[in-house]
Subunit: 214 residues, 2 copies
């Protein structure tokens, strides 16, 4: 069976995966770019166009960052990761331009389904109104035997954790305090009984946490 | 001026410094001993009698744990760290027996002052009904020029942080999810603007966070 994985999902020290006030020019709300700053210098993110022209760093941050696409056949993301709109909007084509970095089918969880969007580079957005287990079933059909990445945001990851559908998870703790936003750890008492949790600190100042099923 | 320091204060991954349901046989509530487990094998805690007869470990956990008493002239602790009772109680002499491990004066913040308790080994408990700044003034009188340790619990540390009275802080993040209890990070947005925060992961599985004033 293919695995369900989370990669590179960043939270503040106080556990917020996104700040308050998400909008078109602020996908992370008042958090700004601070939650993803650790990733921009890595080779993986440099090659996605986030950080100038160099070859990109290859340290521990890259070791973790680079795993996000390997053996992945599909991503599932929440409505708020796809865009800042609430309600129906058939014009919005995502934050990522004509050639999004996913290069696989992407399931967007939404209460407002719309026709599938075929983008350049192999990415397609499929709009699905379904609970986690049903969405995962649809994702596996699209993944052609490969793994499924849960791409976030915070609420989506928490819902898949609550339904016990996640096999491995990489969370990055960034040493800032956001104070408000969407809290990843809400109501997850005892999660450490299901997962072995290993923290590794990086010279960049973040902590990589890997959750592996016990 | 003497420094105000926090040492060895442990929280769960979701930020709780104590669980729910503190009582006589459960000082940390439903957290049990899990928040302090990392410390018991260290030389410092072994010498305090927490862990059998060996000499105790001397790795990174000990490097941090051992700093707690150096140059400390007084501790300030909250009422809940001193005991499980609420309201007045003149019989309770703390969790630590006749010879508590502090060996300095200790200020216990409480709305129910009582006469000073002189214990063995140099520890004395002084019961003070005061806001953080005033308690700190009293502590400095007792410290004879040495540093002041804020010993917890969660609420006490948060109140001293909110009043911007803490100079350095060592927090230990333990990879468990408690789900409920007293949350250390409540309403501390922007704390990283006042402190440089450095995380170091330990082979024991915890992360040591040091907060140094910028």
């Amino acid at each position: 069976m293919s695995l369900v994985r989370v990669h590179n999902f960043s939270v503040s020290l106080d556990g917020f995966g996104v700040g308050e006030g998400q909008q078109l020019d602020a996908p992370f709300g008042h958090a700004g770019h601070r939650l993803m700053q650790w990733a921009f210098p890595t080779r993986t993110f440099t090659q996605m166009g986030f950080h100038g022209e160099g070859p990109g760093d290859t340290g521990v941050d890259e070791a973790f960052a680079s795993r996000w696409a390997t053996d992945i056949g599909v991503e599932i993301m929440g409505r708020n990761k796809f865009g800042p709109q609430r309600g129906a909007d058939e014009q919005w084509r995502g934050w990522w331009g004509d050639d999004p970095p996913f290069h696989t089918p992407v399931i967007v969880l939404t209460h407002h389904p719309r026709p599938t969007l075929q983008m350049d580079g192999g990415t397609s957005f499929h709009f699905v109104d379904a609970a986690p287990a049903e969405a995962l079933e649809r994702a596996r059909e699209l993944a052609e035997g490969k793994d499924v990445r849960i791409g976030g945001g915070t609420t989506t990851i928490r819902e898949f954790l609550a339904a016990d559908l996640i096999d491995e998870m990489h969370i990055v703790v960034v040493p800032i305090l956001l104070g408000r936003g969407e809290w990843l750890w809400d109501d997850l008492e005892g999660l450490d009984e299901r997962f072995h949790i290993e923290p590794v600190s990086s010279p960049s100042g973040v902590v990589h946490l890997t959750f592996s099923r016990r």
